[in-house]
Symmetry: none
Subunit: 230 residues, 2 copies
DNA sequence: TTTTGTTTTTAGATTTGTCTAAAATTTATT
DNA sequence: AATAAATTTTAGACAAATCTAAAAACAAAA
């Protein structure tokens, strides 16, 4: 039976942020982590020592760091909790997909393993959260999703939105305004080389123009459109 | 719109415990609170100063204390959260009523007011948690619990002690001796018509006999939480 | 290869919540 | 009322998580 390991809220926040950062770069730096957590480099160094002490990451001073197997497992569990709660908030409690992040930040730190597995079952074992990010299963397996930025696609293609790279409220506002959400099917109608903006069309709506900035952050399925689940 | 006031986990634990204790006695003592929270009297004193500072209770050294209006409101909101989450866990996630308390202890500290109001609606505005304790509504109105004397109940019923009518030291001594206190769950095993005494069983203890006099003064929840026991 | 600049770490302080041991105060007993 | 016992508070210490300011290590440029 899966154990019920619990770290402090701050440690969990650090583990999760390191995990996300090392998806991008292989190694994570003190400054990058401090920026991601809105804290100070000195505080990060302090925490790194504790996490190393607990054998959750490989770290040598001045040399950068990354999670080891143990740390990665812990981080994935937190991400699993975060995304399941987000799914719950949107699908069961009728929250908008742009309101759920902060609340899930709190719920993800609730410890019980049994709770999260029961929640998973209650929700019907969803595969992705409301932002299109894949939900790790109870074994910690994190499905890899082939996602491609909207800006990289050729003209005329019809694709389905499966994720948003930059999940700031400002970004989500733009999408909301243009009636684009997760699962929305888009056709790329025109590309403007001048500013790399592009015009897309959503079914039953007039075409809209998206800036290069926005398009870059809209992730779409490159292959099969995802089947809608209840 | 109801504000989103947040206190530390420890402060919330103290507020809740004080609230429960002052339901019984009007004034709460340092020792009683320390016992309830499994902490030390000195720690309680420390916290009392902070809560007084924040104007959540009336407290003068060596004189006992009780919540003021502000503190009571805060405590009721925490209790609302606790009981709604318990209801959710039992009714939606299929937990047994005896497993949910600890998990709800964590969930109750999640801050968002909107979350709890949405959860309330999702659950259909339930009036009592799985233990039969009433759930405060979103205005903080706490329904008065129906209390019934233990002597009036039918055989076989399992109930939770929610009050003691006669709080004489003699009465409390009897209860103490039989390991019965507030919140203790009892099953009524046998009734003796000869003297109206009855035999009750507390979990993990041998059965004990209570006189009619005693039984009359033990108040219990008159609900049926255990009908849907799994 | 020095010098300069950036990044990271250390040293020391602060805040919150807890503890133990001892002192102060209240309550109970003779 | 005086003494004993219990309760409550204070004093001082400690751990966790954070910070600022300064030092150390590394990287880049002259």
């Amino acid at each position: 039976m899966a154990p019920n390991i619990k770290y402090s809220v701050s440690k969990e926040d650090h583990l999760k942020a390191i995990f996300h950062l090392q998806q991008e770069q292989g190694m994570v730096t003190t400054n990058a982590l401090a920026a991601a957590l809105q804290t100070r480099p000195a505080s990060v160094t302090d925490m790194l020592k504790k996490l190393k002490e607990q054998k959750l990451l490989n770290y040598e001073r001045y040399k950068g760091f990354k999670l080891n197997n143990e740390g990665r497992k812990a981080a994935v569990q937190i991400i699993r909790k975060h995304r399941l709660w987000e799914y719950f908030l949107v699908k069961k409690l009728q929250f908008g997909w742009d309101e759920v992040h902060e609340i899930a930040e709190e719920l993800e730190h609730v410890g019980s393993r049994k709770l999260i597995d029961r929640l998973d079952a209650f929700l019907g074992f969803p595969e992705a959260d409301p932002h299109g990010d894949p939900i790790p299963d109870s074994q910690g397996r994190l499905p890899v999703r082939r996602q491609v930025s909207l800006s990289q696609l050729p003209l005329g293609k019809t694709v389905q939105v499966s994720g948003v790279a930059s999940q700031t409220p400002e970004m989500l506002e733009v999408l909301q305004y243009n009636h684009i959400q997760l699962g929305t099917r888009l056709e790329i109608r025109k590309k403007f080389p001048f500013d790399d903006s592009l015009e897309v069309k959503v079914r039953n709506r007039p075409p809209v123009t998206l800036s290069a900035q926005v398009a870059k952050n809209v992730l779409v399925n490159d292959d099969e459109p995802q089947t809608e689940r209840r």
